[in-house]
């Protein structure tokens, strides 16, 4: 249960190796935080003993975003073991290769980023409704706001995930469960290693701070950095020719 200053007791990160996911947990550390669950593909490879999130207990559990039939059972099992899930971060996702040339890889990316988000999103929503409270934090991306030639497959998966998340938020209205959709710009993280910074680039900690603030305020959508809300508000209406020029 969140306390009155919106500090969670239990946080689940789906995609627990994600830099942003872990930074969000760090930003949510408080005396109230008791349990951090990192759901990852290979729990044995996560050294929970070397991590600290305040005084919280940390566990790593097995999770495969592509194994959609396992998601509901996983969430039910975690709720049994750890009680109410106050904040669940949907942090898994891949950047993938840009691609006109590899339909199979593109479909795989869609499987993880979109299909996995839909499946885990509904499984988590079911649990949050049953407990009457809790927030699903969905890490979307500005790449989905308007897709561009250089990463349109990734962008399209994020557009789908984003549309699903905001719609899920509406569907859950009044149930006590909430969805917060996060739209970061370029984030310097493991996922973007080797890429040049885009304008308005931020670090995972910046995204995490924006997420923590959004949770305190009960925001439905958070942009990181906040200025991107205005930038993309305009870019959405830029003529196609201009939009293609802006793409690197």
């Amino acid at each position: 249960m969140n306390n009155a200053v919106k500090q969670p007791q239990t946080v689940l990160v789906l995609g627990g190796t994600s830099d942003i996911g872990r930074a969000i947990v760090s930003a949510l550390v408080s005396p109230a935080l008791r349990q951090v669950i990192l759901a990852v593909r290979h729990p044995g490879e996560v050294d929970v003993d070397s991590m600290t999130f305040g005084n919280a207990d940390i566990v790593a559990v097995a999770f495969d975003a592509k194994d959609v039939s396992s998601h509901e059972a996983l969430v039910a099992d975690l709720a049994d073991r750890f009680g109410d899930l106050d904040v669940v971060v949907q942090a898994f996702g891949q950047l993938g290769a840009a691609g006109l040339d590899d339909p199979v890889a593109a479909a795989e990316l869609a499987q993880v980023n979109y299909v996995g988000a839909v499946s885990t999103g509904l499984a988590v929503a079911g649990r949050l409704r049953a407990q009457g409270h809790g927030t699903l934090v969905v890490l979307s991306s500005v790449a989905g706001v308007r897709t561009r030639a250089s990463n349109f497959v990734y962008g399209s998966t994020k557009a789908g995930q984003d549309a699903f998340a905001t719609g899920l938020g509406h569907a859950l209205h009044g149930s006590g469960a909430k969805v917060m959709t996060v739209r970061p710009g370029f984030v310097r993280s493991a996922m973007t290693t080797g890429l040049d910074d885009a304008p308005f680039a931020v670090d995972p900690a910046d995204v995490a701070e924006a997420v923590a603030r959004g949770l305190r305020r009960g925001s439905a959508v958070v942009w990181a950095p906040g200025v991107l809300k205005i930038v993309f508000g305009l870019l959405r209406y830029a003529p196609d020719m201009v939009w293609r020029k802006l793409d690197r």
Partner: protein, 452 residues
């Protein structure tokens, strides 16, 4: 019986959760209805929703609200037997014109008898009369197996003292018999004094509290330096007939008149108007207009429940709501008390109308809050960044000084903080497990604080 899904919060309007809310008459409550609601999320009783945090909400589970039951006054023994869903407002409208007053009144009339017992509430007379539970002769408790049990302090002392102050986690109180205070008039004779700072206030209260049944100070939590903790101290007693007519000759025609005034309520959707500037200006005005020292005759509402005149005053804090932080520290922990007042005054948080009071002896409730010492109550707007850090800091100082926090106000504590403040917690847990082994009674607060 009426059932619906509803998002609930406490009076502070923080941390909402959705529950199945059941409104029903006390007679409809039986083993079968209880079984119908039973899920792994449990059941909790809710009165008028005036607890500030989450003790009367139960996300995903059932929240039961009892309709007001009968009020049976026995003037000869000065007791009243009353349904647990009856509010103090309704009770006072019945008993005050007949020459009786509730033994303990908190800062609002909008609490139920059931809530008053479950929170073991206190008022301005705690130093003289103790808490509400000390004035209850018996109550009926619906237990987890659906059986109603009449309980007195003699019949089952453990269950009694686990239920008084037990936050509804031992069962649903359905009815209680409460000892009343005979009164000659519905007014109070009140001494109002301006006190320039905290040290002068503590001295004044220590020296003078025993002369009055009621005593409380309203502390300005915005001033610093030599004006740190400047206050308005009010001390009073029920006015007898002669005292009333000496001041208001015409009031002698109807000395027990009780007509609480009602101003228009605060509409929904107002933003937080209690900014630091607004609070600072208000506090200045309120301190300046208080007399240096003056006796006056006050109404029950004016003296006990001024905020009740404004419906939904909690909306003044806007969408983010507020926290009411109430602590008690032993009398000797004056330095801790002063450091807390100073920290809050310097923190930039706008705490409106803090209240300071001296507590008398404990009632015996295992989780009852009042214990001898200074109790300070602060209102803090909840939407402020950094508030969590401030509260954690205050929590630690309160525990280090041997103090504790009030569960009916709590909205931010951790299991460790409650364990640190309540040495009889394990004793209470043992009774809870005896009467409710499967955890039928459950609230968001119970889950948050491991009270099961």
């Amino acid at each position: 019986m009426r059932t619906r899904q509803q998002e609930l919060t406490g009076w502070g309007r923080t941390a909402p959760s959705n529950a199945t809310v059941v409104d029903l008459d006390e007679r409809e409550l039986d083993a079968r209805t209880l079984r119908d609601w039973s899920s792994d999320r449990g059941v909790i009783a809710r009165g008028m929703g005036r607890a500030y945090g989450d003790p009367a909400q139960n996300g995903g589970g059932t929240v039961v609200r009892l309709a007001p039951g009968p009020i049976v006054l026995d003037p000869a023994s000065a007791t009243v037997t009353v349904g647990a869903g009856v509010g103090l407002d309704e009770l006072m409208r019945h008993i005050v014109p007949r020459g009786f007053f509730v033994p303990v009144s908190p800062g609002t009339r909008f609490v139920t008898i059931g809530g008053a017992i479950a929170s073991d509430i206190h008022g301005k007379n705690h130093h003289a009369d103790g808490s509400f539970g000390s004035h209850v002769e018996s109550f009926t408790l619906m237990l987890a197996d659906g059986v109603r049990q009449a309980v007195t302090p003699m019949s089952d002392p453990d269950l009694w003292w686990a239920t008084v102050g037990g936050m509804g986690l031992t069962g649903i109180i359905t009815e209680a018999t409460v000892r009343l205070l005979p009164i000659e008039t519905s007014r109070c004779k009140v001494l109002t004094e301006r006190v320039p700072n905290l040290d002068a206030l503590l001295e004044r209260m220590t020296a003078g509290d025993h002369l009055h049944r009621y005593s409380v100070a309203w502390v300005d939590m915005v001033s610093t330096g030599s004006a740190l903790g400047r206050s308005v101290l009010t001390q009073g007693d029920h006015a007898d007939y002669d005292e009333l007519v000496a001041e208001h000759p015409r009031a002698g025609d109807d000395p027990l008149a009780f007509h609480p005034p009602q101003l228009p309520p605060v509409p929904p959707g107002v933003p937080n108007v209690l900014s630091r500037l607004a609070v600072r200006s208000f506090n200045e005005l309120w301190y300046r207009r208080a007399p240096r020292a003056r006796w006056s005759i006050e109404t029950i509402t004016g003296f006990f429940h001024p905020l009740d005149m404004i419906g939904h005053w909690n909306r003044l804090y806007g969408r983010a709501g507020f926290i009411q932080y109430q602590l008690v520290v032993p009398f000797e922990a004056v330095d801790t008390l002063r450091s807390i007042v100073e920290t809050v005054a310097l923190s930039g948080n706008a705490s409106f109308l803090a209240v300071l009071k001296r507590f008398g002896p404990e009632s015996g409730g295992m989780l009852s809050f009042p214990t001898p010492g200074w109790t300070l109550t602060l209102d803090l707007p909840a939407g402020v960044d950094g508030l969590g850090g401030l509260i954690a800091d205050l929590d630690r100082r309160v525990l280090d000084a041997g103090g504790r926090h009030y569960l009916a106000k709590d909205a931010t504590a951790t299991p460790e903080i409650i364990r640190g403040g309540y040495p009889r917690l394990d004793e209470w847990l043992a009774v809870r497990r005896r009467v409710d082994p499967s955890g039928v009674w459950m609230s968001d607060q119970a889950r948050r604080l491991d009270l099961y």
